[in-house]
Point group: C2
Chain length 328, copies 2
Amino acid sequence: MTGTLASLGEVQIIRIMERAFGESGKTVVGFGDDVSAVKLSSGKVAILKTDMFVGSTDLPPGMTLREAAWKAVVANVSDLAAKGVRPMAGLVALGLPRSLNKQDVEEIARGLSLAAKNYGFPLVGGDTNESEDLTISIALFAVAARRQLILRRGAKNHDLVAVTGEFGSTSAGLQSVLRFRIPKRKLARSLYESVYHPKARLDLGLRLAASRAITSSIDSSDGLAWSLHELSSLSRVGIIIDHIPVSKAAGEFAVEHGQRANDLALYGGEEYELVVTVSPRNYSKACRVAKGNLKKIGYVTDEFRGVRMKLDGRVADVKKKGWEHFRS
Amino acid sequence: MTGTLASLGEVQIIRIMERAFGESGKTVVGFGDDVSAVKLSSGKVAILKTDMFVGSTDLPPGMTLREAAWKAVVANVSDLAAKGVRPMAGLVALGLPRSLNKQDVEEIARGLSLAAKNYGFPLVGGDTNESEDLTISIALFAVAARRQLILRRGAKNHDLVAVTGEFGSTSAGLQSVLRFRIPKRKLARSLYESVYHPKARLDLGLRLAASRAITSSIDSSDGLAWSLHELSSLSRVGIIIDHIPVSKAAGEFAVEHGQRANDLALYGGEEYELVVTVSPRNYSKACRVAKGNLKKIGYVTDEFRGVRMKLDGRVADVKKKGWEHFRS
């Protein structure tokens, strides 16, 4: 399939865009981080983010339109959470199939509205279109002090690597409904929540950033392994993972279906936790502001580049693999 | 088709969203104008705009992906032009069908890049997805002084109504390729440009707004009649049109196909001119800054609400009709 989107993959497509668009003196953060940022006056930056939800690829069986709209907002908020920035306002561009009815539109509006209220910002405008594929494109705007932003680059030798939650539930939940055809209502509660009602770690992200304890940060929506590789690559360091934070439900699912729990946690995606690095002297401070929601999973080293895991005394590479559009 | 999107129409859908989202103290301009605006500090506002291009409804026969991408940007810039605001940065969320190849993606990137450079702002981030329907969702950001913004409301009794160009070419061009199956390359130049390479009136919009001569403004992308009705409704005034600015090519098309040229100009759409009101004492100033690109087409009255035309001594209603998604 040379030359098709499947062979290109999302990363290549973004590179083509980046190359065509070029550089700008106004840009503080461009492509390649969770959000973009452009210079305003007096040390402030405008934070800009867009993420699109597409029905044909992002809508698991049984997901209501309200849930889809909620999730579309969460995916955007999560990226701001990772940078420690509170959303100020949002826009919604919709592509709606003709088969939808008034109630469907109201469900979408409700999901968008609930999510925006939950994360404390207004939806101030938008655009509505007919489309063959349900499309919910959100754009978020915020203002931040330049030095307040926590980027993907910034991790230093000896920093600790920590996460805000456990992983694997979304993978296990998606496999349950997609592969094993388990109805939504029969899913264990945590799998259900992970797939159909995910949450962004906004408060936690704001507290961690405000504490100045963390040196780099990313959200885990493309998978834990992918996120670790991004931190490693942009911070130009190596990462060694000595603990893989598998959720209880993912562990049970792995046993039941003869799968590797670690793989579910590492190579999943659509999980909206934060992956951060913390200098050792600030770790207790970070844990304090996180109120028990921070777990150490490894450390940063300058002895190599990339991501490895060291479990039971054995070292292995963590693959740079996650959920990428056009490759699945 | 009760209850379906076709019976609802775009305006109803936007109303459902608006109602669900509610009001916010931070919002200076919400739904219902060309752009949204939220309060920043010291009299400044952040300008936010999103407009989505969808292949199945917005891509005429023969339009290249580069042209589609260009047009997606133009549609957004035009709305900022109408408010007198220069774009500061843009985001792009893409939904790409699997059938596209690398060259297609490069063409989209080139169209986006050319348009952004032409209107003087950087594209600083985005999102790429797989979709069954080609989707190019643009979001623009700008900063403006609150009092610099020219809104749809603001037209006053006795103001003059003026436009920045002629109308009907896009309608004539679209009919030529869609209905009469005329190949793109055989279109008259002005029809070709209107359909495949439209331009936003950014410089003109900036100059008009800076002159403080105009009292209200809207872009004409939903059609001249629709735009006039919006100005009338939001300014709570009546508008009388005594001249309909039909383009030469639209006039010729009308004669050739036995159509009414005035209808082509009034009830078309996808034309990116500006429709403004000007107080009579500032009209010569407005013409001066517009350098010949402003044409008076009527005046504002408080004697009724709505839009009427007075041609050859006869008065008739201008229908509130334009190009609306889900209704075509």
